[in-house]
Amino acid sequence: MTRASEKRLTLVWLALSAITLAQYLSMSLGDHGAYRPNPALTVSVILLSLIKVRLVLMEFMELRRGPRLLRRLTDVWLVLTAVVLLGSYFAGPLLWAQ
């Protein structure tokens, strides 16, 4: 591989690991690590995870240089997943509370 592409992969991996550690710290320190509902932290954790997933798809799986259709499909899926997860989290209690 070229030095530039090798460096890029390393940067992506570092970013993925750093985001993971940030998510971990935010949950273990936020609200004293309590297991209580925390919408702000939950939203950030979910969005950060989707950013990580996008990084894996675009950089490790090389969709960045792949067919535009796959890139579009990826973003459609990411947005759909975000809507589904966040939608259930916020609207859920209103619709389903027992």
Binding site: M1, T2, S5, E6, L9, T10, V12, W13, L16, S17, T20, L21, Q23, Y24, M27, S28, D31, A34, Y35, R36, P37, N38, L41, T42, V45, I46, L48, S49, L50, K52, V53, V56, L57, E59, F60, M61, E62, R65, G66, P67, L70, L73, W77, L80, T81, V84, L85, S88, Y89, A91, G92, P93, L95, W96, A97, Q98
Partner: protein, 192 residues
């Protein structure tokens, strides 16, 4: 391989990845989103029970497992790039590292399950744990299948003329195992 050949090699990257594996990857991606939806809806129905059960998971083990899979994706991507430029020995090293990380995840996951079952948390303990075992077990099965793909990479790299297409198809599958876990980790271990 000289520097001029590399752009040509990268141009070929688009064609090397067979479309079949991408159909599968997106199918699995949407499928898992539907599983997550069911989990989130059920969680919204009974947040306190889910939070209490979730507290029994080891956040630290979850993070370590996530970091291990991210490492494996990194080495897998390095393997593909090395193979593409003909650096077969380097590619082989990266492939073997990927297998090592995959094994580390496997051992970690099985021992985590053993610990939880030992503490009395099984599939039928409560609703959260049903989802936990279901999602992590389905992911684990994908991981096991991943070993076959990783084996194919090693097999190709041993041949005089490794099939870049086969290597990239395997890599695509492996990265899917990684990104599926990234969401599972967030939803089971992190969210409140």
């Amino acid at each position: 391989m000289n520097e001029l050949a590399i752009p040509a090699a990268q141009a070929h990257a688009k064609e090397e990845n067979s479309s079949g594996i991408w159909f599968f990857v997106f199918f699995e991606a949407f499928l898992f989103t539907s599983y997550f939806a069911v989990y989130m809806v059920q969680r919204a129905r009974n947040p306190e029970a889910f939070l209490q059960a979730q507290a029994q998971l080891s956040l630290g083990v979850g993070v370590v497992n996530t970091l291990i899979l991210l490492l494996s994706s990194w080495t897998m991507a390095r393997c593909v790039q090395a193979a593409r430029t003909g650096a077969v020995r380097k590619a082989m090293r990266q492939a073997l590292l990927t297998i090592a990380f995959a094994l580390a995840f496997l051992v970690s996951k099985v021992s985590e399950w053993a610990t939880e079952i030992g503490r009395g948390y099984s599939f039928t303990s409560n609703e959260f744990f049903s989802f936990y075992y279901f999602l992590t077990a389905i992911h684990f099965i994908h991981l096991l299948i991943g070993f076959v793909f990783l084996g194919l990479v090693v097999h190709q790299l041993r041949r005089p003329s490794p099939s870049q297409s086969q290597i990239e198809t395997s890599a695509t599958y492996w990265h899917m195992v990684d990104f599926l876990w990234l969401n599972i980790f967030a939803l089971l271990y992190l969210i409140r």
